[in-house]
Amino acid sequence: MKQEFTLSIYSENHVGLLNQVTTVFTRRHINIESLTTSESAIPGIHKFTIVVFTSREQVNKLLLQIEKRIDVIKAYVFTADEIVHQEVALYKVKTESLLNSNEIERLVRQYGARILEVTKEYTVIEKTGHKRETQELFDKLDHFGVQQFVRSGRIAVTKLKDELLSNYLKKLEKEKTLLD
């Protein structure tokens, strides 16, 4: 059964790593729903957050293939209930439509969105939330004409008490010493 998974991939911060990670997906014809890269809490370690829609069996194989890349430190897979996740969306509308009725202002309040910039010509609205929420706001705003819409990839942190990566790094160091 296919379902949504969020992958957290930790790697060294080298040129070309994005390509190394994404070719693992393309080679197996798995579509990436969203992708975000940033630094992690540990200096020098980079984090990829990738959302895919696939089967549990396939995603487990995918993880091992990703970890096989030398510069990848560790990859984890989560379902939505195991993480706190968020996306940000930006909507550009004509300022004129904002002024013509109270409806846009009402939507901004109702959805906990905020206005980032207002000029004579356009207004930029920002909303953070889950995809469903940002999409819903888009659908409603679009009645008044959305000139531009963009949504970021998912970012996520785990709900776990223990920090998986730092524990893993400690364990790895211990194992390597034992293997020596």
Partner: protein, 578 residues
């Protein structure tokens, strides 16, 4: 006193730290890694490296090949017979792209290589400069690791890391791309070998619980079958394997790349798995109640139809690469780690056993296969020579103790079925990628790696012509490679498939060949052509007695087929004998 200590430290530092060019640093780094032989082809972007090599010719024996693909295959042959890392130099652009086939071959067959490619100057990167290609991008999916060096200072560390990654864990090819300006630049050279990379875990500690679970399954099994892969050879675990097999009495079948991991005549050796493997191990796979996979990856040529594979068996999988666990066949008990570490732990704990009746079932299968396939192949009633009888005659000539190198196709399957082995690291073949043209350069590399052992190459008339130019390298190096060309004027394996599955529509498989003896003569390689059984024996003797390379061309049956055969999509138990 203090001053004196300081001076001594400084002197030591000066000894270790010497100012030199990036190119010379490449030479020094290779020497630090114990390299004394390498293969390559010069060109614009790697000329500074070759210039540095000029001063190191007494320490680094560089073999000038005739095509970069040959350099990589030769390095593969060298690596496979020695267990060392094979090294190549290629230039940018076409030099590097010509190396791609060999690198891909080494990746899928886990062969340790370090390929050093020249690159245009860093200021020209991304400008479509002359002979610029994105080599790092191109080789990213077919290397274990690759890296572009743009500053001379990075060279020692990049090379140290390359060797460590290439040979540790599951081995594989590494490519280091060095820009021309980095080759020229001067810096203070210092070499520190690498034995650790934070993001890389070459092998795992053996999990005791998994070992205990595996032992329990092994002790309970009535019909266990061990599958021996190249992991045994790569981990130098041949003795550990024998200890395990002798104590448990379990029948053992080898994969194509597992060949020579145990002696051919070992009584529990039940032969080769897979599409053209032996009858017994194929049909018995579905009767076995336990499969113990040792350093192998369940390639589709081994499993046939996965849904109908090992249907009655639990699976214990001993494997160094975590990504191979459950990739194709679900492992009831995975034992992650180097088989050299895991096998002794299993051996220690398993009960002593023998499986005579079960082994007898394999012997019964052998009888059938002998009668239907092996006897007619070795003692044909038809006039034409068969590939099998030629292979058998050659292995006997060398008392079953030669290194055999093959190209890809029917002759490869005949060589792997009919050649016999006494010691490990005696087979060099292109397994996973199936690269025609692999054989001739790989045989050269094997001979240079093991000059004391006879090296016999079996090659077809198709594959021979894919890298035939390496006869030039053989001539120049005077390498004593015995080339047995099995000539049927056909692309035999494709023709066999056309015969069996495409109603004999022989589309573009018949070859009009040149006179191979004349070509060999032009390259200064002695040889002869044999087309009758009466002359074979003496010709093989003449080849063996000849000092130096020899081309023994044997005209074989035009439409011979390799059997047994597991047709694509069929189960291993549906293996065809005719």
């Amino acid at each position: 006193m203090e001053t004196q200590t300081q001076t001594t430290t400084m002197e030591a530092k000066e000894m270790k730290q010497k100012r030199m060019s990036g190119s010379e640093a490449v030479m020094q780094s290779l020497l630090h890694e114990g390299v004394d032989l390498l293969f390559g082809y010069p060109g614009g972007a790697i000329m500074p490296v070759y210039d540095a090599l000029y001063h190191y010719q007494d320490k680094l024996n560089h073999i000038l090949v005739r095509h970069e693909q040959g350099a990589v295959h030769a390095a593969q042959g060298y690596a496979r017979v020695t267990g060392k890392v094979g090294v190549c130099f290629v230039t940018s652009g076409p030099g590097a792209t010509n190396a791609v086939t060999g690198i891909a071959d080494a990746m899928v067959d886990s062969t340790p290589l370090v390929v050093i490619s020249g690159q245009v100057g860093s200021a020209l990167l991304g400008t479509d400069a002359f002979q610029e290609t994105d080599v790092v991008g191109i080789t990213q999916p077919i290397t274990k690791w690759n890296y572009q060096v743009k500053r001379a200072e990075e060279i020692p560390e990049a090379i140290a890391k390359a060797f460590y990654i290439a040979r540790s864990g599951r081995p594989g090819p590494v490519l280091i791309d060095i820009t021309k300006d980095a080759q020229f630049a001067q810096f203070d050279f210092e070499y520190k070998p690498v034995d650790r990379v934070r993001s890389y875990k070459p092998k795992s500690l053996i999990n005791k619980e998994k070992v205990a679970e595996a032992v329990q399954l092994i002790n309970l099994a009535k019909k266990p079958l061990a599958l021996i892969g190249q992991g045994v050879v790569l981990g130098s675990a041949e003795n550990e394997l024998m200890d395990f097999l002798k104590k448990t009495g379990i029948p053992a079948a080898w994969t194509l790349l597992g060949l020579s991991a145990m002696p051919s005549d070992f009584e529990q050796n039940v032969g080769m798995l897979g599409m053209h493997g032996h009858y017994g191990p194929n049909v018995k796979t579905n009767e076995a109640d336990l499969i113990i996979a040792i350093g192998m990856r369940f390639d589709d040529r081994v499993t046939g139809n996965v849904q109908k594979y090992a249907t009655n068996a639990k699976v214990v999988h001993l494997e160094i690469d975590p990504a191979e666990i459950n990739k194709i066949i679900y492992a009831d008990v995975p034992v992650l780690g180097d088989v050299k570490d895991s096998l002794p732990k299993l051996t220690e704990m398993v009960s002593k056993n023998s499986h005579e009746a079960w082994l007898g079932e394999f012997k019964a299968c052998d009888k059938i296969e002998n009668q239907k396939i092996i006897e007619p192949e070795l003692h044909p009633t038809k006039e034409g020579l068969t590939m099998g009888e030629v292979v058998r005659r050659v292995t006997e000539q060398y008392d079953d103790d030669a290194i055999v190198v093959t190209d890809v196709g029917q002759h490869q399957m005949f060589a792997s079925r009919y050649f016999k082995f006494k010691q490990s690291r005696s087979l060099v073949t292109s397994g996973g990628l199936g690269t025609m043209g692999f054989g001739l350069p790989a045989a050269l590399g094997a001979k240079l790696g093991q000059p004391e052992r006879p090296v016999c190459l079996f090659v077809g008339d198709g594959g021979f012509q894919m890298t035939i130019q390496e006869l030039g390298t053989i001539f120049q190096t005077q390498a004593d490679v015995k080339i047995i060309l099995l000539n049927n004027n056909f692309l035999g394996m494709v023709r066999q498939w056309q015969e069996l599955f495409f109603d004999r529509r022989y589309a573009s498989t018949e070859l009009v060949n040149p006179d191979f003896q004349t070509i060999a003569k032009g390259y200064g390689v002695a040889g002869e052509k044999v087309d009758s059984r009466d002359n074979l024996d003496a010709a093989v003797k003449r080849m063996a007695d000849h000092k130096g390379a020899y081309l023994l061309e044997v005209v074989v049956e035009k439409e011979g087929n390799v059997f047994p055969m597991v047709p694509t999509g069929a189960s291993v138990s549906e293996v065809r004998l005719e």
